[in-house]
Structure formats: C-alpha cells, structure tokens
C-alpha cells in the first residue's frame, strides 16, 4: 500500500499523539476534557502527618507507594488541616469551614444543629451516589449527622475483626446511640454506667479479644483507641478496594481510615524497620506540652513510622488493583488526612494545644482522571478548600457558606497572599467566643501562632517557614511590622468568627 504525503502526515500525527499525548496529559487538560461526571474518591488516613512521609521529604522511607501515587498526581506541599485532632479536622474538610465557624471543637462533640445542611454530601446533591465511611468513630459520628445526604453509610466496624459498637443497632438514631450507649453507658474507658449490662458487655468483649489472634502483628492487631473495634489492615484495605471497585457512576466516596492513628501497630514486615539511630532536630520542650521524655518520644515516632510504612504497603496494593481496573482513568482519587501527629517539644501524638506544623501539615495529593504526570503546588492550601474544589469538579455551584477557595490546578490559582487558619479549642465551649484556644495563621512565608486563655497571658509566636521549616526560631520579638500586620488580621478574623457567639459570653 502506498501512502501519499497527506495520508503520511495524518498517520504520523496520529502515531505521535498516541505515543506521547498520554505522557503529556496534564491535570488541568484532563479536568477540562472530562465532560461526563467522574467518580470522586477521598481516601483519608487519620493522623497522617506530611512531615513523616518520604514523599514530603522525610528522611525515613516510610511511603514509597505514596511516592508512586505522587508521580501521577497534583502534590500540594503546603496543605494544612483545620485542627489538630479528628473532630475539628474532619469537620473542616466535610463542611468547608474553619473550626471557629462549624464549632465542632470539643472531644467527641460534633454538633452541627442549625448547620446540618452545610456539608460536602449536600453540596454534591443527588446526582452523585454518596458513600460515607468513618472508621474512626468520631468521624462516623460526624458523617452520621449528615446521614440524610449520604446514600450509603458504612458502619465504623465494617471490615473489622471485632466490632462491639452498639450504635449499629439503632440506624434511625445512630448519632444519639453513639453518645448515649457507646460513649456513655457502655464506654469501655471508664467504669460502666450500666451496672448489669456493662460488666456483661465487657466480659463478652474481653473474651472475644482474648480469642483474637495477633498473627502478623507483633504489637497485636490494630484497634481503635477509644472504641471496641479491632481490625487487620489487609482486611480493611481489601474491603475498601471492593467498595471502590463496586462504586456506581457517578459516585462520591468519603473513606476515612483509622490508621495510622495510635495505637501504632505495624505489621511484622515493618516491625523494627526504623531502628536506625536516626533522630530529628532537637527542639526545646514547650511549656504547654505534657513533658514526655525524649527517649519515649523517639520510640513513639519510630513505631508511628513503622505503622505508616505498613499502611503504605497496603496502599500500594490498593493502588495497583485500582490501576488494573482503570479506576484512575475515570475517577479523581484524593489522598489526605484530618490532622498530623507530632513527636517533638515534649509531645507525642496529637492530644495537645500546640499547633506546630507536624500536627497540622497534612498530605494532599489528587490524581485527576487520566493523569500521568506529576504536578507540584507549593502555595498554602487548607482543608477548607476541598469542598469548593470538589463541588467545582463535580460541576456544582460553590456553596456560599464555604470558606475555602478552589485549589490550584483544579480551577484555582496559587495565592500565597491569602491567609489560612488552624484552630484548637477543645476546652472552649462550642457556643461561646473562643477565649481558650490556639490559632495558627499562615500567610506568605509566615506563620503566626496565637495562644489565648492560657496562663500567664496571651502569647504569640512567629516563624518564617521558608527559612525555618522546623519552627525553631521565634521571630515575634524581632519583626514588629510583620507581627503588627499579621496580628491585626488574625484578631480581626477571630473577632468576626466570634461575633455570633458574643451574646453568650
């Protein structure tokens, strides 16, 4: 067969396109090209700090599979949680508002009464089949409040070896069943309030746990810290994989994994992997820390890293399966967390009033359908940005009540001049102005931390994150002009947020 010049050019053009275009397929062009609604899957790993992931520059190789995922994603390098533990962090993501607005700031206390319609499931509307899974019971408690907008609500105990939660038996009143039964009458953290059924319930639970093997997990199999749920990570991932593969189209799935939240129970494969003598920069003990000894903190960090590596291993398998089944071609896959974890300054984990980066700097990687090349975004972004961005990519209007902005590369622009916030206020009533809290504000390269309501007086700290990513040198006394500007903005924002509650002072 002879080819004329015109046919040859057509064929050559088609060949070049077929070979090279998929490689060059950028995130933004994929977004523009996709007119049909794509599935949106959020995989949230509880308490996963960006600072402990090798994909974000951590010296220990904790996350080679997340690194693989990053190679086909938009990687947000300066992404921050709304708070430093599950309730405010998750609520910020799901409502697109900061903790000082949604007011879910207390332990086990998300209460969205009056704002129940302001959430990501409602924003997406009924065009999408909406799935919610909160393996952390507090996340489940949040999703359960939005249940009328969730088409399929998976129980927190799904994919567990032991599930002794009682709220599953009260599907019409799940929220109060958690609080009244799981959190109170049968709370295994305290003496049971139920005199007869309490000990009986515990006896059955302890019997079941005693019978549960710990094969493959030298520190026993992973479990939920505050609730009677025990699970194997491989079973959890297997269940989640099936759930994702069976999603109808279009669907939105919010899948909140408990690991790598404490207790850190790595698999045998990674047990002892990081006994390497490495230690992070030495930082002074903070006056608001719980003064955990340094050696204990290092041990916690190491076991956490091993748990992250365990999670990463299973994530790698999940990613391969999704890839084989073409999920990445027709879905947005979002990897993130609700808050971080800190192992420094006398603190371990995240039960703290401190808001240093390790406890609020979280990963955000978004794989756009068909994306093959990595993109990196360095400007500051926040968990509040996910709701408007997801609404945007779903072709929905951005809710007016959301406080976030469109993420760069997904409709938004890099904007370092904007201010973003993280709020800690677990000892503050939800219905009064924030008179006992810690607030962090990021703007440009600066981070201002404000401690209010703690003895002896309100204090500020200022860091230049470009020059001092470890937050070692407090610039507050040295930069009065920068401080004045940032301080005014932070206090004005706080005052605005507190306005509706001032009558309750």
């Amino acid at each position: 067969m002879r080819l004329d010049r015109r046919s040859f050019l057509k064929l050559a053009g088609a060949t070049v396109s077929a070979v090279f275009l998929p490689q060059l397929y950028s995130a933004s062009s994929a977004l523009q090209a996709g007119s049909a609604r794509k599935n949106i899957v959020i995989l949230l790993f509880d308490a996963m700090s960006a600072r402990n992931l090798s994909v974000y520059g951590y010296p220990r190789q904790t996350a080679p599979n997340f690194e693989r995922f990053a190679e086909r994603s938009i990687v947000y390098h300066s992404h921050y949680a709304g708070g430093n533990y599950t309730i405010p962090g998750t609520s910020t993501l799901l409502t697109g508002t900061y903790p000082w607005t949604h007011r879910a700031v207390n332990y086990s206390g998300p209460n969205f009464s009056g704002k129940i319609d302001n959430n990501i499931f409602a924003a997406l509307g009924t065009d999408y089949q909406r799935y919610g899974f909160g393996q952390n019971v507090w996340a489940h408690l949040i999703i359960a409040q939005f249940e009328k907008y969730v088409d399929t609500l998976l129980s927190a105990g799904s994919f567990s070896e032991i599930d002794f939660l009682l709220n599953d038996y009260f599907p019409n009143d799940r929220n109060f069943a958690i609080r009244a039964l799981d959190d109170f009458m049968f709370n295994r953290e305290n003496t049971p309030a139920s005199v007869l059924f309490g000990p009986l319930y515990r006896a059955l639970y302890y019997r079941k746990t005693a019978m549960l093997g710990s094969e493959g997990y030298p520190r026993e199999i992973p479990q939920n810290m505050n609730y009677p749920l025990h699970f194997r990570i491989e079973t959890l991932f297997s269940g989640i994989t099936s759930t994702i593969l069976e999603l109808p189209s279009p669907a939105f799935a919010y899948l909140h994994f408990y690991p790598p939240h404490s207790p850190y129970r790595s698999s045998k494969r990674f047990f002892g992997t990081f006994v390497d003598g490495w230690s992070p920069p030495n930082k002074p003990v903070h006056r608001f820390s719980d003064n955990t000894p340094k050696q204990k903190i290092l041990t916690h960090r190491r076991t956490y890293d091993e748990y992250v590596a365990t999670l990463d291993w299973e994530f790698g398998k999940l990613m391969d399966t999704l890839d084989e089944n073409g999920v990445f071609d027709d879905s947005y896959v979002i990897i993130t967390s609700d808050h971080g974890e800190m192992f420094e300054r006398g603190e371990k984990a995240h039960n703290t009033v401190l808001l240093y980066d390790p406890v609020i700097h979280i990963p955000l990687m978004i794989s756009v359908p068909g994306q093959r090349m990595r993109k990196d975004v360095y400007s500051n972004t926040s968990a509040v940005d996910l709701l408007p961005t997801i609404s945007h990519i779903a072709g929905k209007p951005i809710p007016s009540w959301s406080e976030g902005k469109l993420l760069p590369e997904l409709g938004g622009n890099e904007d370092n001049a904007r201010s973003i916030f993280a709020v800690e206020a677990k000892m503050n009533p939800a219905f009064t102005p924030l008179h006992r809290s810690t607030i962090a504000m990021y703007k440009d390269k600066y981070k201002l931390i404000y401690y209010t309501g703690y003895e002896p007086e309100d204090t500020f700290e200022l860091y230049d994150l470009d020059a001092d990513i470890e937050e070692m040198e407090d610039l507050y006394p040295q930069n009065p002009e920068v401080v004045k500007k940032l301080k005014e903005e932070l206090l004005d924002s706080l005052s605005d947020a507190d306005k509706p509650y001032k009558k309750n002072t």
Partner: protein
C-alpha cells in the same frame, strides 16, 4: 414493689451519678434537648436492667420452695438484690481497658453467687435486720412514683426515635 424499688435505686442512681459526672464536658457542646435524649437512653437501659433483675429474683422465688424464699420475699429479695448488684458494681470497677480482665473473679462467680445465697439465708435469720430491710424497702417505694413514669416515658421516646 418493695424489692423492685431497691433494684431501681441501685441501678438508676449509679447511672445518674455517672451522668452528672459527664455533664460538664457535655455542656461544652450539647443543647438541652441533646442532654435529654442521652438521659432517656440511660433511663431506658436502666429500666430494662431493672426488669431483668426483678425477673431473676422472681424466678429464684419460683424455683425454691415457698418457705425457703417466697414467704420472706421482701427481706430475702432485697438482700439478694443488694449483694448481687453490689458484686456487679465491684466487678465493673475492676474493668479498665489497659488492665487485664478480672477472669479470676468471673470464674469464681458461681461460688460467689452460692456464697451470696448462703449469706442471704443466714442474715435473714436476724429479726432486726429483716425488719430493717423490709422498712427501708417499703420507704424506697416512693422513688417508684417518679422512676416508673420517667422510665415508661423514656422507653416510649427511645422507641419513637428509632421507629420513626
């Protein structure tokens, strides 16, 4: 009714104390209606527990010959209830998540129960004690006038919330 009043007092009051203990933290984020719903759940659980315990005491009196138990139902029932629930409260206090489960105590339960029954029979032979318990139980019935209506109302509310 006298025995039932003792059962209710022993079940409802520890739960209510727990409720008061938790109240300050709940007040940080809960409305009055939230607190009421939690209270209704608590009372409903207590109500079911009280009926189960009463059934156990009644079953005991049916199984044993009348002269052993039924003829002195109030005093023996009260003692049996107090010792049984006392043992359960004691057991509950030793069940902490980070401590080993008290299997030893649980394994000894049949023996402890036999001991309780023996103690009930011995103590019931003391007329003063018998009289005292009957009097106390009789006076405690006043609580039933409050607790039974609240329990029924709570059970209806919990049922209503879960059915509709």
């Amino acid at each position: 009714m006298s025995v039932y009043s003792i059962i209710t007092v022993l079940l409802y009051f520890p739960a209510f104390l727990h409720y008061l203990w938790k109240l300050p933290s709940w007040l940080l984020f809960s409305s009055l209606s939230d607190l009421s719903v939690i209270y209704f759940y608590m009372v409903t659980v207590n109500f079911i527990e009280s009926i189960v315990i009463l059934m156990m005491v009644l079953a005991f009196s049916i199984v044993l010959p009348a002269r052993w138990f039924r003829d002195r139902f109030v005093s023996k029932g009260v003692m049996l209830t107090v010792f049984l629930l006392g043992f359960l409260i004691y057991l509950g206090r030793y069940m902490w998540p980070e401590t080993p489960f008290p299997w030893g105590v649980v394994r000894l339960s049949p023996l402890i129960f036999a001991g309780i029954v023996a103690l009930v029979f011995i103590l019931d032979e003391i007329p003063f004690l018998r009289k005292l318990l009957e009097e106390i139980a009789n006076r405690f019935t006043v609580f039933l006038y409050i607790l039974i209506p609240i329990s029924i109302l709570s059970a209806i509310i919990v049922l209503f919330r879960n059915l509709f």
